[in-house]
């Protein structure tokens, strides 16, 4: 389901989508739709068609971003091939550069001819189209953390996204993750647009995106470290459409005693009913849907408290209705 307008009560001064609450994106989204079959053979013409009828930079960027997210597929095989090679040549900068130069040509050829690509391709095409519209847009390289990335493999950097300057302020977007999800088994990509990655709150973004150049966190660097990022919980796509902030716990892995109280805190994009909150707790053999011991909602503030009453090792997944939000692990001792 598309979330075209996000109604967010004022919370932070961080540059995020709420800065544009007064803008209606439907015209920009419509332009993106109208240009659906245009392809990338004539990028200047595409940009012209996408943006010439729009009055503001934000709308022009929106049209470009939406076009990319709805027309460019994620090529899972290409991702695997690159991952293998980049890992292999990690310590050989000459071989790595040679691979990158060859691979880059393949990526651009596929992008042009088949409208398929990997993360950097998405970020790159958003940047190129934006530049043709005289927008200030950058590709940000860094680390992206998903339920499938192995933390010990998070070096070298593995993901790319965008920063866009609008009305003098920088904002963050992830067109790759916004476009949809490839199936790792079938390798088939399904378009499923997630609006939460458009002008995301930097405080949420940092939980699973860490830029190589720290200035692109758009946050105070002292409180946001790479180690903090490595230790953070896993977030899923729906976290970006449900949450404004993931406040607690700050870490993914926990060691607790039986009946020790654990607190979870979030800021929600919209108020929800108590019944929509649940944990899915996986003890290694079975997964059980559980209501947290305490659930309190105060406008957009959500606080949960839970105690584990049996020893064991648990993967705990938070759900809001059917949306998978985040995962934590708990080793519970006597």
């Amino acid at each position: 389901m598309r979330h075209l307008l996000l109604f967010i009560v004022v919370f932070q001064s961080h540059a995020q989508i709420s800065d544009f609450d007064h803008i209606n994106f439907s015209k920009a989204d419509q332009m993106a739709l109208l240009c659906k079959n245009e392809g990338l053979n004539n990028m200047p013409e595409l940009v012209y068609n996408l943006t010439s009828n729009l009055d503001t930079d934000i709308e022009r960027y929106r049209a470009i971003y939406m076009w990319v997210c709805h027309n460019i597929s994620n090529d899972y095989n290409l991702y695997l091939k690159n991952k293998r090679k980049r890992s292999k040549y990690q310590n050989d900068s000459i071989k790595l550069k040679a691979w990158n130069d060859r691979f880059k040509k393949e990526v651009f050829r596929k992008l042009l001819k088949q409208e398929r690509t990997i993360c950097t391709g998405y970020a790159y095409i958003v940047k190129e189209l934006s530049k043709l519209a005289d927008l200030d847009c950058e590709v940000i390289h860094g680390y992206g953390k998903t339920s499938m990335t192995h933390i010990d493999e998070l070096d070298p950097p593995n993901h790319s996204w965008n920063a866009i300057k609008l009305d003098g302020k920088w904002y963050l977007c992830d067109p790759t993750w916004a476009a949809g999800i490839p199936n790792p088994e079938t390798k088939i990509f399904t378009f499923e647009y997630n609006d939460g990655y458009f002008l995301s709150n930097p405080k949420l973004f940092i939980v699973n995106h860490f830029p190589e150049d720290k200035k692109w966190t758009l946050l105070d660097s002292k409180t946001n470290t790479f180690n903090g990022f490595l230790a953070a919980p896993i977030l899923y796509g729906p976290a970006y459409t449900n949450l404004i902030e993931h406040i607690a716990p700050e870490e993914m892995h926990h060691s607790v005693h039986k009946n020790e109280k654990v607190t979870f805190k979030y800021k929600l994009q919209k108020s929800v009913v108590l019944e929509s909150i649940s944990f899915l707790i996986d003890d290694g053999n079975n997964s059980k849907k559980t209501t947290p011991n305490t659930v309190s909602i105060d406008k957009q503030s959500l606080t949960l408290e839970h105690q584990f009453d049996s020893r064991g090792f648990y993967d705990v997944h938070l759900y809001i209705d059917d949306d998978l939000i985040s995962t934590y692990t708990f080793r519970v001792k006597d």
């Binding site: 990338l40 053979n41 004539n42 990028m43 200047p44 013409e45 012209y48 068609n49 010439s52 009828n53 009055d55 994620n74 899972y76 290409l78 991702y79 690159n82 991952k83 980049r86 990158n100 130069d101 691979f103 880059k104 040509k105 651009f108 042009l112 990997i118 993360c119 950097t120 790159y124 190129e128 530049k131 043709l132 005289d134 590709v139 390289h141 992206g144 998903t146 339920s147 499938m148 990335t149 950097p157 993901h159 790319s160 790759t176 993750w177 949809g180 999800i181 490839p182 790792p184 896993i234 899923y236 796509g237 899915l280 996986d282 290694g284 090792f313 993967d315 997944h317 995962t327 692990t329």
Partner: protein, 138 residues
């Protein structure tokens, strides 16, 4: 006096074109007479686009602020389909290469352009909706 006037008109033309990019969707039509002024020099611009390895086929060349453009042939050559004036900007773009803006002046008849490959490192972790599963050793 005359050269000053021409210069001033060209400057205004430049500003008008950039403003028009945002406010006049109709500006792009090739029949548009908005840009016809006394300063029009009716320049026919040709050229060749290459990279470090040879000619580039399929490079997009567009008059900035419009949809009027052309694509290079297998020799990397092009003839711009519309007469240009001093102050016009041609935008050269090609996927994987750094975009370039070339400003036309009264003496421009042939553009020899070398495009350089965009420096970009490729990486790509896709999103996943599969719930995380800890490795267990029991």
């Amino acid at each position: 006096m005359k050269t000053q006037t021409i210069k001033k008109i060209t400057q205004i033309l430049g500003i008008v074109m950039i403003t028009a990019l945002f406010s006049c969707p109709s500006f792009a039509q090739s029949k548009d007479t908005a840009t016809t002024t006394a300063a029009d020099q009716q320049l026919t611009v040709k050229g060749k686009v290459t990279d470090d390895k040879g000619p580039l086929l399929g490079v997009n060349i567009v008059l900035k602020g419009s949809k009027v453009g052309v694509i290079t042939d297998e020799n990397g050559e092009f003839t711009f389909p519309k007469s240009l004036s001093s102050g016009d900007i041609l935008v050269f773009s090609y996927l994987g290469y750094e975009k370039q803006n070339i400003k036309i002046d009264a003496n421009t008849t042939y553009i020899n352009l070398i495009m350089s490959s965009d420096l970009v490192e490729m990486m790509g972790a896709p999103s996943s909706n599969k719930p995380y599963k800890s490795k267990r050793f029991n």
